[in-house]
């Protein structure tokens, strides 16, 4: 029962990202070519509203439905991991046209080749875990 609500928000997420075409390789290409406002509008609106939501939650000490205060852990400061990791992800994002959420949403949409992308993404995550101590962070 605890998990079912996450499944339901996932469904909402999948429908929103499909219907707004955020999962489309064409839209990601358009974004990286700066040829339309669409993707910037989506991300910009989400961040603008997100800033308000997080600020209000912090100010009101907003509690989860289980009564614990929502905690926002600050991320550890560094440059390497965010820049290098970000660049590597960006290369993959422009190739596949999909970040992690859309990979699975596209499988649901019937783009079965993305099963290969999903398996490769899990293997990439695994490879990072194995090589972690050798990488600059």
């Amino acid at each position: 029962m605890k998990l079912i609500k996450f499944f339901i928000i996932g469904i909402l997420f999948g429908i929103i990202l499909t219907k707004s075409e955020v999962v489309s390789w064409f839209r990601i290409q358009e974004m990286f070519r700066f040829q339309a406002f669409h993707m910037y509008g989506v991300i910009g609106t989400a961040v603008a509203l997100g800033i308000v939501i997080v600020a209000v939650m912090k100010r009101t000490k907003f509690k989860t439905m289980y009564g614990n205060e929502v905690v926002f852990n600050p991320k550890n400061m560094s440059i390497y991991r965010y820049l290098f990791g970000g660049i590597i992800f960006g290369l993959g994002w422009a190739l596949t046209g999909a970040c992690p959420g859309p990979i699975f949403i596209l499988i649901g949409n019937g783009y079965l080749a993305f099963i290969v992308v999903a398996i490769s993404a899990v293997l990439g995550t695994l490879a990072y875990g194995a090589l972690r101590s050798k990488l600059p962070h």
Binding site: I11, L17, R33, V42, M65, G90, W93, Y111, L123, G124
Partner: protein
């Protein structure tokens, strides 16, 4: 109603919807960060026995995998019952750029010439699907988040590391789109 929902949704509805998803996840005791689910999948498969990074109590993170599976179901629902069947109205400039690179099929969410199942065993399919997926998985865990964790959640919490990550996303994405992709599509 169904007909209205089957039309493409405007950017402000999508942006507000994503913020709502983030809010609900926080309220339910989770957080908005999809790439974390990839790490949880590694832990569930027993990767923690060999790689200490995945040796975590994944039961606490199972919600994230369930969320992602919900996303898959949402994609199915949208594709089956909320699908107008019309081509995506991307900018004419993008159409021309992609045509110059050899893309001819603009129907659906992704070009069938690259992402059709018949492409899986080709060299180009290997690069776009296998290498592409690997870069997404490796890069997101290295950076500690993806579009949801850094660009939405992190920037909403005014985190400088997330801004650095998003700048990285764009350096990588622009490099791929403008330098490498013309060559790779031609393979």
């Amino acid at each position: 109603m169904l007909e209205l929902l089957s039309q493409p949704w405007p950017w402000y509805i999508a942006g507000a919807g994503i913020a709502l998803v983030m809010f609900l996840l926080l309220w339910f005791g989770g957080e908005f960060g999809v790439s974390g689910a990839l790490g949880t999948m590694c832990s569930m498969c027993g990767a923690g026995k060999k790689v200490p990074f995945f040796n975590v109590n994944w039961h606490n993170q199972l919600w994230n995998v369930v969320f992602v599976l919900g996303g898959l179901a949402g994609g199915f629902i949208a594709g089956q019952w909320l699908n107008s069947g019309a081509d995506i109205q991307i900018s004419q400039a993008t159409v021309q750029d992609l045509q110059a690179l050899g893309i001819t099929n603009f129907s659906g969410l992704a070009p069938a010439e690259i992402f059709g199942t018949d492409q899986i065993l080709t060299l180009r399919g290997f690069i776009f699907l296998v290498i592409g997926g690997f870069l997404v998985g490796f890069g997101t865990r290295y950076a500690g988040g993806c579009t949801s964790g850094h660009a939405i959640s992190g920037l909403s919490n005014l985190q400088l590391p997330s801004l650095i990550a998003v700048i990285g996303f764009f350096i990588g994405g622009l490099l791929m789109t403008h330098v490498l992709l013309p060559f790779l599509i031609g393979l």
